[in-house]
């Protein structure tokens, strides 16, 4: 790799972590569907287990195909390494499970994906990990919520459901002043739109199910470490800075000055929690990442056209996209997301729940389902699906109205998407009678 700087994003998306297979000459990344890998000798086996050598032993811990994905996402994010896991939820759990235990505390944005909120608010509490939720724009709130037993701060690059942009430079500075890392869910933005590490984040995770894979074919997650957080100096992480009897008495932050977190997350978290990714899934996600720059550009281009159409439509009360005037994160979006604010957003339809249902059912190109980040355009009506048990007051508390519609804009012709929406809006208007 000659030259005086690392390769650019598009090149890394195709090449990072991969080279022609030395055994077969295969140019594409092979799928290593093997549970385990042969030792050259007993001495070789012992040295792999004792981290005297690098290599693969058992695919729950590491796998050559998964390793390509891990290196590639780390490269795109500007991190030191990564771990591929079974889902985005598994990535969040691995991050927290590596740093926190019973008696620990997390400070999290209140604008989170529902699954993340469930994990923090209900499930981890059962295991003795408490979470304080802070509105992402409440800077003083982030600082005030930190306790002596806090282990990390956590937010999403674009919050759910209002797309509040997380002020990563400010929140990371608050975290670092307290000797804490900032963990960021970057699923909606992908590294093509923003590299949170460049703005101060320490740990990143993705639901690779979404834009990274991009085709709605696979569930997966990736956890990336920046390598910049000093776990030893912080004094809050004996898990990383003191001997771990569960793995040869290893002091992970001594073992690797930049990769101590990932060493423990793999050697403990993947070993014991076991939420590993199938190599076939890793390969599918790699296929997606190869075209990530092209796809994200088109996702954003289409989204901007759809947003403009909806913002001007008389049946639409509000469009929540940070590039629009009046969005509370517009200034931050210009600073942190100059390439665009992704392809998932919500808008409020004027009218009743029934009109919302009529709108959804009239769509022909948009698929009605519970996912985002597909190459195909997707739609969901929270009031009749994910939040159907809530009355209108409870919906309002969650920032949702009876007419809120969430869209994930795909790669179709933008004119076709707009025509589809136009027809459905007409149907919704007629449904008022």
């Amino acid at each position: 790799m000659p030259g005086y700087a690392d390769p650019g994003f598009d090149t890394l998306a195709l090449h990072a972590g991969a080279a022609p297979d030395p055994a077969t000459g295969a140019r594409a990344v092979p799928i290593h569907l093997s549970t385990s890998f042969v030792f050259d000798s007993s001495e070789h086996a012992a040295s792999l287990f004792n981290m005297e050598r690098s290599g693969h032993v058992y695919s729950r811990i590491s796998n050559p195909t998964n390793a390509v994905l891990e290196e590639r996402v780390a490269a795109l994010e500007g991190g030191c390494g990564a771990i591929a896991v079974a889902s985005g939820q598994a990535a969040l759990h691995l991050a927290i499970g590596t740093l926190a235990g019973a008696g620990s505390h997390v400070v999290a944005s209140s604008a989170l994906y529902g699954g993340s909120h469930n994990l923090l608010h209900y499930t981890l509490k059962r295991f003795g990990i408490d979470t304080s939720f802070v509105k992402p724009g409440d800077i003083d709130g982030w600082r005030a919520a930190i306790r002596p037993n806090t282990k990390l701060l956590f937010g999403e690059t674009l919050g759910n459901p209002g797309l509040e942009v997380l002020d990563i430079p400010t929140v990371s500075a608050i975290a670092h002043d307290a000797g804490l890392p900032l963990l960021v869910d970057s699923t909606f933005t992908t590294p093509w739109l923003m590299k949170p590490i460049d703005h101060g984040a320490d740990l990143i995770f993705h639901s690779a199910t979404k834009f990274l894979s991009g085709h709605g074919t696979v569930i997966g997650g990736v956890l990336v470490d920046s390598g910049r957080f000093d776990w030893g100096r912080s004094g809050r992480f004996p898990e990383l800075s003191e001997p771990y009897t569960g793995f040869h008495g290893m002091v992970f932050s001594e073992e690797s000055s930049v990769g101590g977190f990932l060493l423990r997350a793999r050697r403990e978290g993947l070993r014991d929690f076991g939420a590993c990714m199938s190599p076939h899934s890793a390969w599918l996600i790699l296929q997606g990442i190869e075209t990530l720059p092209l796809r994200m550009a088109r996702h954003v281009e289409n989204t901007r056209q759809v947003v403009q159409f909806l913002a001007a439509h008389p049946m639409v009360a509000r469009v929540g996209y940070p590039e629009l005037d009046g969005h509370p994160s517009q200034a931050l979006a210009r600073k942190l997301l100059p390439r665009g604010c992704g392809a998932v957003f919500s808008f409020d339809l004027k009218g009743s729940r029934q009109q919302g249902v009529a709108f959804i059912e009239a769509l022909k190109i948009f698929s009605h389902l519970a996912n985002v980040g597909d190459c195909r355009s997707l739609v969901i009506h929270p009031a009749s699906t994910t939040h159907f048990r809530m009355d209108d007051a409870a919906l309002a508390q969650a920032g949702i109205t009876a007419g809120t519609i969430r869209l994930s804009i795909g790669l179709e012709d933008a004119d076709d998407l707009i025509d589809d929406l136009k027809r459905a809006l007409k149907t919704a208007e007629r449904a008022s009678a």
Binding site: M1, P2, G3, Y4, A5, D6, P7, L12, H15, A16, G17, A18, A19, S47, N50, M51, E52, R53, S54, G55, H56, S62, N63, P64, N66, A67, V68, E70, E71, A74, A75, G78, G79, C80, G81, A82, I83, A84, S226, G227, R228, D230, G232, H248, G249, M250, E254, E255, S256, S257, V258, G259, L262, L263, R266
Partner: protein, 271 residues
């Protein structure tokens, strides 16, 4: 392991990684000496292997690097004296010195200054003189983070260092960049990058040192090394009558080709 080491700035605390085992000065000792902007963590696989195969290991952090107190020392000669002082602090009379890049100059100079204390030299990614381009030095002075990226790109020869270092899933480019940035951030007042590369460039004692080295030497070179290409180490190899081991890697060979480098080290150590 923390050691109190006597140096030109008095007695200061130094750190040496001991390979995952308590250090035993009675065992044959291997001292690992890192290159510019690095610390012990570039050696951990080799150090662990040695520590679990009958050697006492000291993978040191030079003053002002990693976990050792500063300030950084001003020359290769001063670092050679300090390395010998660190051995004394660890109650080590003799050792194999293993260096990478700038660390090879320190090892060479130490072997010349105290030939009775150095049993073997293993030099990885070495050259003498170790000239540094004016462009890199000026970039180091004016934009050290940019200079880090330049050196990073020149030090690593492949986008796919397998099986990666220190384990699968690590992105060697990103790890090396983070390590150098963390080293640079150790002091707001001191430009460590410029310092380290200037002392490589300024070292003039190589010929004399080569003449005084008495121990067997192994030179490990990378076929794709752009920082210290194999041809740049030919004079060094000839003067030291070194055994030359060639590995398929760039300058950051312990991370790019850990198994091949381990094999070269084992041959040098005779195990």
């Amino acid at each position: 392991m923390k050691l109190d080491v006597d140096g030109p700035n008095g007695t200061q605390q130094a750190y040496a990684y001991t390979g995952g085992k308590a250090f035993d000065p009675a065992l044959p000792c291997v001292v690992f000496i890192h290159g510019a902007m690095h610390d012990h963590s570039g050696w951990t696989l080799l150090a662990r292997w040695c520590a679990h195969h009958g050697f006492g290991v000291l993978a040191l952090n030079q003053p002002g690097h990693g976990r050792s107190a500063g300030p950084p020392l001003p020359s290769v000669e001063a670092l050679a004296d300090w390395t010998l002082a660190l051995m004394s602090a660890a109650r080590v009379q003799q050792a194999t010195l293993v260096g990478h890049s700038m660390g090879t100059l320190i090892a060479l100079e130490a072997a010349a200054r105290a030939p009775e204390r150095v049993t073997r030299l293993v030099l990885m990614g070495s050259a003498y003189p170790m000239k540094v381009s004016d462009v890199l030095l000026s970039t180091a002075r004016e934009a050290p983070l940019r200079a880090i990226d330049m050196v990073n790109a020149l030090s690593i020869s492949t986008p796919a260092s397998k099986p990666s270092y220190p384990g699968p899933g690590m992105w060697v480019h990103g790890s090396n960049r983070a390590l150098m940035r963390n080293q640079q951030a150790l002091s707001n007042e001191f430009n460590l990058f410029e310092h380290d590369f200037r002392i490589c460039d300024a070292y003039r004692g190589g010929e004399q040192a080569m003449a005084e080295v008495k121990c067997p030497t192994t030179l490990i070179t990378g076929t794709r090394d752009q920082m210290t290409p194999p041809k740049a180490s030919k004079d060094l190899a000839a003067a030291l009558k070194a055994k030359v081991v060639t590995v398929s890697a760039g300058h950051l060979m312990p991370a790019e080709a850990p198994d091949a480098v381990l094999q070269g080290l084992r041959e040098a150590l005779g195990v």
